[in-house]
């Protein structure tokens, strides 16, 4: 496997291919800042939970890092394979708050994000990725490596892979890569 690009996003910093991207905001506002700077024309971003926003922005920066090529040569992304330890717990908690006794107005908009694999769907929709998408609940990023190796079996295939974690509001971490199986 060859790493084409990698990105690390914390609540206070962004590191793309080892280089710091300057940001002014922190926490969820940092993700909004990156959205406004690099995307800006996809209002559905604001409906996403923090986990999806995190994965969406990380994927956007990874794919935007690609050198422009002639259309026929542009590599397509064949798979999106992500994992974390806390599933969608942050959004699950938010949703639970809408159905507590005395405040029984369950939010459909929150409910649709009560699964962690939604983030892979959001990435696939935006980037028109039609291959494999999957999300695993694991103890550590190391456990994802054999899963990626067994999923990405075709030679010369490309995938977005990595760790995408959000356990609480303004408490998230992403370490994702664009990889190529040579």
């Amino acid at each position: 496997m060859q790493v084409i690009h990698d990105i690390e996003i914390t609540t206070t910093s962004v590191l793309l291919d080892g280089k710091t991207i300057a940001v002014e905001q922190t926490g969820d506002k940092l993700l909004v800042e990156l959205y406004r700077r690099y995307v800006g024309d996809y209002p559905k971003f604001f409906k996403m939970d923090t986990l999806s926003r995190l994965g969406f922005i990380a994927a956007e920066l990874l794919l935007k890092s690609q050198e422009p090529m002639a259309n026929s040569q542009q590599p397509t992304v064949d798979a999106v394979i992500l994992a974390n330890r806390s599933a969608s717990i942050k959004n699950d908690t938010d949703y639970l708050a809408t159905i507590t006794e005395g405040n029984y107005y369950p939010s459909p908009a929150l409910f649709v994000y009560t699964l962690p694999n939604i983030v892979t769907g959001e990435i696939a929709i935006w980037h028109h990725i039609q291959g494999e998408t999957s999300f695993y609940i694991l103890n550590s990023p190391e456990e994802l490596k054999p899963i990626v190796a067994s999923t990405l079996t075709a030679k010369h295939s490309t995938a977005l892979v990595g760790w995408c974690e959000c356990s609480k509001q303004d408490n998230f971490y992403a370490k994702m890569q664009l990889i190529w199986r040579n």
Partner: protein, 85 residues
């Protein structure tokens, strides 16, 4: 009615997380779904919840939704005629 329309626009923006939008950006008579605001089925559920939560209106006839949610104005007219709070 105009006051209700403005209030409703603000509530829609908040309920649907249109962070980049102000009430002035919403055309009162533009379609809510498809063209116009381009809302989807999840947004429709949020609007149903909004009408229940803010105005005490429970929509029991799904077929009526198409006419009620035609635009902000049709929503406001329905709310004015049927609100219980």
């Amino acid at each position: 009615m105009e006051k209700l329309i403005e209030q409703l626009k603000a509530q829609i923006i908040e309920a649907l997380n249109f962070e980049d939008m102000t009430p002035a950006d919403i055309d009162t008579d533009a379609p809510l779904f498809g063209e116009g605001l381009g809302l989807d089925s999840i947004d429709a559920l949020e609007l149903i919840m909004l009408m229940d939560r803010e105005y005490g209106i429970k929509l029991s006839d799904p077929k009526a939704g198409k006419a009620i949610f035609q635009s902000v104005r049709t929503m406001a007219e329905y709310i004015q005629a049927n609100r219980t709070k």
